[in-house]
Structure formats: structure tokens, C-alpha cells
Symmetry: C2
Subunit: 399 residues, 2 copies
């Protein structure tokens, strides 16, 4: 049975075998050429070729279909592109948002099979979320002819710092979830692997696997949206922190006597650099309710007021980003969140403020020592993609 | 010749052989048991035993002498403690301070052979420093019966951010050094491996190898002294940053309208949390010049004024530390610098301020998720020890 073979090869017992390493690389990175596989796994080309013969025979890997998503990756690369057999396994990614669940199903060839937003009342409980998700998964697997036995794992994104064991810390946007172990709640409902992390870390995983930071071993994700979030990738690993609290850029306290934050501190960056206040100002000025989309569209249309509000926000955000970079000095900053969709409307004032407050000024550095700034490319569904990516990557790694 | 054998085994060509991996582990960690070596290198015990037979025969490794520093490491461990043969190679560590050079010589068994502080006029040039050091090394090697051919490398610590290629960035405490490539200057003078890093990174390496953070894969060094510095170790690697600018905690800008800093920013943490102002206040109050030592001694004697000045400094430092931990959430913070020598006089107000400003409050976390705080243990010579440690560790690593 293909599914069982895949599970065995993704398990810890075979993680050091050539077949195990190849299968993990394909799960982590999606379709690859044999040359890519050799480079990524450190295996000799001949070893890869030999192992691929067996993996093809057992039905676990196959050539990527012409016309599928793998084709674009193959452009310009020599050799056949190989993929895990999509029938060998599927993963589910879930983002537990304030008043809805967003879910996607992907197979191990990195093809996306289904996605859904499910509205929920605010303050829904984790158990309710797990049960609703269970119903959706059962229905959607049946509709798509997928076997539940092929579900390799569920990745869950939560809008709060999450301990490595899956426990939600305080300062969740859903306050009643503090102390809840999401891994346990979902683990009971599904009897499969459950991986949990916060939404910014999931954004970083998505951009790392499919977006603006593919293959980068060191980068910082800086996300400005209704809140401010972040993530740190160092030496090819996402830094989680001892209590899941790394990358909490929004809760850098810039003013110890400032406004009270939901986190219990005062003067947090998030309070001064989020879109909620600009949306209120725009709503009042235009006499209608402004969504994030509306504000982004208005700024992109060249509206001076919307651009000014975004520039003011960027000015404060740049101070925070300069602090982050005085601590990490990363080679790459990926700017993410709704404001990234305004392009230079946000980026120019952000970088101007960054340069003023940064310890190492861009102007003083040779090109190869400058921190590069890029936009995220998965701005609308990065979190839920990262949730499913967690499962694919978990299998792709030894630890 | 033992020296040549050692050089060969420390070189990149043999880095994957069992002998190469064992020699690197011993260079990095000092005397170890065979069991430790197996664990650190990932080699089978039997492979380690076989390789050690050859390494002993060639004179590269030997049992650690009874009575030397290795003995204390052996207490409570089963098995013989093995060390690199101290005659196989030596390393020099140098700290280029404001008006003096501090230098140490150590052998590859981690025994320290000599140390010296050499006074210099301020604004000395790198070439002058290299020549004076060369004279001292030649004399001291001769006095101690050491062969210059056994000098494996020189580690150089500079009080400024240093690019990975050895170029000093701006904001050096010796302003004329900005743009100087210290690796090149010292490389020309010595014709041996030269490794360069900033002083806080060297402090971290010393505490990591011999001090308060031995073997810790993840920690933050937070150093408060005449300046404020820091370093970040993540996943067993020191983070340097793309331009050598990581860990610059002193230049977090807390107040964009604050006092001008030598780095060109305003309101930097270092301006509000360094010992220079307390020393001026104590000097004025007591009618005599206060050194850092004097201030530490006075605080430790229970003097209310000195304790208050340190507490006020700790209050600001705690804000900075909280910001660092909102970004990194490390399992361990090693508190270093002169103020660490006042123990709880500094630590209690530091942690009280940290707790007030931190995103994840210590009180909310289970014990295993709390960030631990320890003092550095090499507070007087950590920088120069770290400089020599750089050379020993460089050889101890694949990259």
C-alpha cells in the first residue's frame, strides 16, 4: 500500500536511509530534479538514481505531470522533475481566525485540492473548531475521492504565541484559549499528527516554501496588517523561542508610558503601527465603513489621505524594524501583510524610517552586506498555506 | 611531524573523516571522554576507539595529565579523558582595546600558556598593533619553548561591528579603523589563519566554551559595562548578521528624539544604560575619580547611593532586554559585564524591569518555558579568551 510505504519512509526509523532522505526532501520542497535532490540531501547522484528506481517501482514517486504546477518549476532546469505520488498522502492546513476557520487540503506533491473559509461565532471553543473541521474534512475528502487513511497530518495556525508543545499562551486574540493545548484537542479529534504554531510563523513557512523567500536560510518576516507580527528564520530553521515567543515584533514596547496593549504592556509597536486606526479615520472621513481592502485600494489609486496614513504608520513601523535589525542584522527582510499590497506607498516611508533609526546604515555598507527587502508574494492566504506547509516540512526534516 | 598532522586533520579535506571529526571536537571542546566524543561527533563508539588508536600512535592525542585542568572536567565521568597533544599546536587571542592590546596564548589542549596587557597610545593603527603583537609573540614563544610553526591561528577581537570578511564597520570605538580589513592587516604580518569578530561575540564564545553557557545551543549574552553589548547564539551557531551587526543591543533606539549617540542614532539603549554616567556622579559625590571596579566594590559594600545608581541603570537595561526577548524568546540569558559582579544589586532591578516590559511574563509560564538568567563567569578576561576560543572553535567546526 502506497500510503503505508510513505508513512514508513517519513517516520523516524528510516530518516537516515537514502529513500527516507529523498522522500523527505520531496515532501519539504515539492517537485525536484534528481540533481536538486542530490544537492539537498547530500547523497551521491548514483545513490539518488538507484533509490529512485525502487521508489518509482513502489509507486511513491513519479515524474511530474506535464501541465501541473510542477511544470513551471521545471522551466530552465535540466532533467526530469520528480514528485511524490499525490495519491500517497494528503495534509490539511487550518488557520483559526477570530470568527472563522480557514482550511486547505494539499497532497504530498504540493498540489492544492480544496480550500474553504468556515464562518464561526467569535469566542468559539477549540473543541467546536475541531469538530466543525472534522465534518468539513470528511465531506471534502469524500467529494474529492480522497482516503482519510492518507491524511498525514494537520497543521494548525493560532493567532497567539504557541508553546512548542502546542499550548496557547496568553494574549491570544481569542482570550478564552489561553492555556489550551491545541495539539491535544485536535489530536483527540483526528488521531493523526497535529502541529501547531502562531500565524506569523506560518506566514514565514509559506513564504519560505512557495513565496518570496524560497530556500533562504536566514530571513526575517515583518508583517504589518491589522496587527504587527513577525518571524525569524536562522540557519535554515524557524526560531520558535523557549515558550513560542520569538518574532513578537508587534510587542516591542516603544513607550513604557504609552497606551495599554491587549498583551498587558504599554506603548507596543502594534498599537502605533497597525491598520485599525487608519481604517477608523478613513471610515469617518468618507462616511462609510472601510475594510483593509478598501484602504489598500484607495492608497493604490493615489489618494493623498490614504497614502499619508500609511506613510505615518510606516514611519513608526520603520523604528520597530530598525530595532529588530539591530538585534538580528538579517540578509533579507520579507515585508508581508496587507500593506505590502500597496508596494512603495508603504515600502518607501518604511525604509526611509528604517535607515534613519538603523544601527548599520544601508548607505555605509557594500552591496553584499546590505540587508535586502522584498515583499511577500502570498499575501492573501499565507497563513493557511503555512499551516499545511508545517506538515509537509515536518516530514521533510530529521527533527 | 605532529604539527603538520594536526594542520592536515583540522583542514577542510579531512573534515569528514573520523580522525578529522575527533580532532575538531577536541579542539572545540577541550579534553573529553571517548563517550563524549562519540556523542558530539555522531560516530559509533567503535569507530571512535579505532581512530583514537591511530591518533595516539601519531602523538596527536593523549590521555589528559592528572593534575591539569582536564582533571576537574573528568570528575564524575566514566572513562579516561583524552586531549589533543598540547605540543601539536598553539593559538593566540588578541583584544584590541581603546588604549591597550590584551593577548593570550593557549595550546590545543585548552591550557593557557601566557597572557599580557600591552599599553598603547589611543588611536593606534592596526599595523602598529600587528607589529607590536608580533614582537610579543616571538619573545613569548621563545621564552616558553614554543615553536612559531605551531601557531595555528590568531583570533582578534575589535570593539566594533565587524563584517564576516574582517572589515571594521563604522561606530568603532577607534574611529580611524572604520573600513579597515583587520584580517588582511594581521594576515600580512603573521602568515597564519586570522579570525576577527567584535568583542561581545568574543565574550559569548568564551562563556560558551568555558564559562556560564557551556554547551548551550541557544542563548543571548547581555553585557552591561562602560557600554552595552550583546550576542546571539542560535541552534549551536553564533549569529553574526549579514554585515556583522547582530547582537547590537546597545544601539536599540529607545527614544528617537533622545541624546545623540556615537553611532549616529539618538536615544540608544547604551546611552541610558552604561556605567559612565554613574561613575561621573560617584566621582563628584566622593571627590575622587571612580573606576568601574570602585563603583562595583562600593555597591557590593552596601552603599545606598551606588546601589541606587545601578538600580536606575538596570531599570532602563531591563526595557532593552525585554525588547531583545520579545524578538528572540531565548531559553537562557547570560548577564555579563562589570555589573554582573554586583550580583543581585544589578540582577534584581534588571529582572523586575524585564518582567514589567516583557511580552511573555515569567509569572505566566510553566518552569520549562521560562527564560533562565545566569551570570557570566569569565567577567574579567572574557573577550580575549573568546578571541583565542574563536580559533579553537573554527577548527572545531565544519564551516
Amino acid at each position: 500500500m502506497t500510503e503505508q510505504n510513505l508513512r514508513a519512509l517519513l517516520g523516524p526509523k528510516t530518516s537516515d536511509t537514502a529513500a527516507g532522505r529523498i522522500v523527505r526532501a520531496l515532501s519539504e520542497r515539492g517537485p525536484l530534479t534528481a540533481a536538486d535532490i542530490a544537492r539537498m540531501t547530500g547523497l551521491a547522484r548514483s545513490t539518488v538514481s538507484t533509490a529512485l528506481v525502487d521508489l518509482r517501482l513502489s509507486g511513491l514517486v513519479r515524474d511530474a505531470d506535464v501541465g501541473d504546477d510542477a511544470e513551471s518549476k521545471a522551466v530552465g532546469r535540466p532533467g526530469t522533475v520528480i514528485t511524490l505520488n499525490p495519491e500517497a498522502g494528503t495534509c490539511v492546513g487550518v488557520h483559526l481566525a477570530l470568527d472563522e476557520i480557514r482550511a486547505v487540503i494539499a497532497d504530498v506533491s504540493h498540489s492544492f485540492i480544496a480550500e474553504q473559509n468556515i464562518a464561526l461565532p467569535k469566542d468559539y471553543s477549540p473543541t467546536v473548531a475541531a469538530n466543525i473541521l472534522k465534518g468539513w474534512i470528511e465531506t471534502t475528502y469524500a467529494e474529492n475521492g480522497l482516503r482519510l487513511s492518507g491524511l498525514l497530518g494537520i497543521g494548525v495556525s493560532v493567532s497567539a504565541p504557541v508553546s512548542p508543545d502546542g499550548t496557547v499562551n496568553r494574549s491570544s486574540i481569542v482570550p478564552t484559549w489561553a492555556g489550551v493545548n491545541v495539539s491535544e484537542v485536535f489530536g483527540k479529534a483526528f488521531n493523526t499528527l497535529v502541529l501547531v504554531d502562531n500565524e506569523s510563523n506560518c506566514s514565514a513557512i509559506a513564504e519560505w516554501m512557495w513565496g518570496g523567500a524560497v530556500g533562504e536560510p536566514d530571513f526575517v518576516l515583518f508583517k504589518v496588517d491589522l496587527g504587527v507580527g513577525g518571524a525569524v528564520v536562522s540557519n535554515g530553521k524557524l526560531m520558535r523561542g523557549v515558550a513560542g515567543g520569538s518574532g513578537e515584533f508587534g510587542h516591542i514596547s516603544l513607550d513604557p508610558d504609552g497606551e495599554l496593549c491587549r498583551c498587558g504592556n504599554r506603548g507596543c509597536l502594534e498599537l502605533m503601527a497597525n491598520l485599525q486606526r487608519p481604517l477608523r479615520i478613513l471610515s469617518a472621513a468618507h462616511g462609510r465603513e472601510f475594510t483593509v481592502e478598501d484602504a489598500v485600494d484607495l492608497a493604490n489609486s493615489g489618494d493623498a489621505g490614504a497614502m499619508r496614513l500609511i506613510a505615518d504608520l510606516a514611519d513608526v513601523a520603520g523604528r520597530g524594524l530598525a530595532i529588530v535589525c539591530s538585534i538580528l542584522n538579517p540578509p533579507l527582510v520579507l515585508v508581508s501583510g496587507a500593506l505590502a499590497r500597496t508596494g512603495n506607498v508603504f515600502l518607501e516611508p518604511l525604509l526611509s524610517s528604517y535607515e534613519r533609526h538603523a544601527h548599520l546604515k544601508t548607505r555605509d555598507l557594500p552591496p553584499e552586506r546590505k540587508t535586502r527587502f522584498v515583499f511577500g508574494t502570498l499575501l492573501k492566504n499565507d497563513v493557511v498555506l503555512g499551516a499545511v506547509g508545517m506538515v509537509l516540512r515536518h516530514h521533510g526534516r530529521a527533527g
